[in-house]
Amino acid sequence: MNNILVLPMILPVLVGVMLVFLRPYIRVQRVLSVLTMIASAAVAAYCLQHIHLNGIMRLDFGDWLPPHGILFVGDSFAMLLVLVACVVSSIILLYAFATTGIETEVMFFYPFFLFLVAGVNGSFLTGDLFNLFVCFEVMLLASYVLLTLGGRKTQLKEGITYVLINVLASWFFLLGIAYVYGVLGTLNMAHIAVRVAETGQGPLLTLIAIIFLIVFSLKAGLLLYFWLPGSYSAPPIAVAALFGALLTKVGIYALYRMFTLIFIHDPIIYKIIGVLAIVTMIAGCLGAIAYSDIRQIVSYNVIISVGFVLTGLAVATNTAFQGASYYLIHDMVSKALLFLLAGTVVYLTGRSKFNEISGLIRNYPLVGWLFFLTMLAVSGIPPFSGFIGKVYIGLGAIETGSYVLLAVSFLSGIGVLYSLLRIFLNSFWGETIISEDDQKPFQKKVGLPLVLLAILVVGLGIGAELLSPYIEDAANALTNPEQYIRAVMGDDLE
């Protein structure tokens, strides 16, 4: 029964390999890839319900019992993220059908898209530290290709920076793994957690924790985000949306896993994360306000939300974890929508600076109102999806008396609102500069994925009650690492 846990990763890999051989048949590739994503989403939804009823799922590959073998562990937190990742990426695929040119599609666009999602899902589900590294690399290699596919000059230039920074991050990751293995002699995450608890988290282990903090901060864009705005604004729109929705979330997930399961005994780490989150949010706001390039502004919005989600980790209470789970889900959906809308505006007008565009709402009313809706959702205004997560993270911060974190994280919302409102006021309102004869036609197939994502944004806000049992499961598993450890190591704990 637990075997289906592997499907969200293995399905995209297998179909991706198959699509490599179906290179000339673009239509077949499209249908197969979207079907795969929907199937993975269905499996994830089923698993989520199963976890809710029967507790955390575990799959030992080759029946090597932990701590000896590699394993997948599905708890609610991971499975929620898998589910949303699959749903969001299938909608982004719909957008990619309409906008990616045939010359890019034929260069194995869909296989790499699927490999990327496979890497992301694998990273969420794995219960082994080295396996996490491998899944990261699967995801990163696919992202290198997707970022540079098409070969425009900016793409290549940003590609070099992006690849190099990630090679370095992977190097630190291996360093951390080597140290963990040297000190504790195991790589199974639950087993590491047990041993850290037994030996106590001394200075050596705290050092290792900080190495992992550096690694995952690089991936998540927590403070070490300097590579992010460039490489997220270079690729084609659909790819940028995929990056914005998924890639940083994997880093955030890894941070949550590390510092709620393994290195939980030294409170100094949470203080460091809190400071990093504050600096990230402030710097992100400055960046979002400083630029006039729409795609840059949107990329800086990703950074702000990374800081915001990690205030939840810095606070580290059950309420804050609930808020963070809500917010992560919201962020995946709304960032995908925001990137797609920004890309659509740039595509339709052929310009990327918001002060060169005006009056778009008359030409493209749908895009305009969707942008307005997204702006409200991203800045956390009810009844949209960002609200509930913000409230819970705020409640968590009040519980622990972290008022500085609370103030900065809520003020960052104003930064988000201001940066997007500027785009809205300048580009959508004002005098119409494109006459009706000159305007590029807005195709229905471009509008459909945007509307679907917008429905999700509204649905997540209004239907938050439906999600709450799963969110509570996720937060409970994060607050009580014993649940995770018991699910992996059995009741006797060695």
């Binding site: 070969g151 290549l156 070099i160 090679v167 370095l168 291996l174 360093l175 080597a178 293995y181 040297g182």
Partner: protein, 108 residues
């Protein structure tokens, strides 16, 4: 023996970082390759160098060498091989496309 290898790792890291900080693309790529060799050696050393017999079940051996680090390194080598190959192709493409041999600067 472990100390010696650790020192070697240190030397390799120093060389790798030096190359990584240079301006020429090819040197940077070589730097990443050397850095990854350093980390593979470190992984091997962390598991303990040869401590006993080959990890195959026999009646006489009292102690076995840990086989896990070698499995890890094998995976890591394959990955770093793929990434280095990709980087080389990418930098060649950049060179072709724009004549940029350096990071964002014109080639002299």
């Amino acid at each position: 023996m472990e100390t010696l290898i650790t020192l070697l790792v240190g030397v390799l890291v120093a060389v790798g970082v030096y190359l990584l900080l240079s301006k020429e693309m090819l040197r940077i790529i070589l730097g990443t390759a050397i850095l990854s060799h350093a980390i593979h050696l470190l992984l091997l050393t962390m598991g303990g160098l040869k401590k006993g017999e080959v990890p195959l079940l026999t009646e006489t051996a009292a102690e076995y060498t840990d086989a896990l680090p070698q499995a890890l390194i094998l995976t890591a080598i394959v990955i770093s091989f793929a990434v280095t190959a990709f980087l080389l192709v990418l930098s060649y493409r950049v060179y072709q496309e724009s004549g940029l041999g350096l990071r964002g600067q014109e080639d002299e």
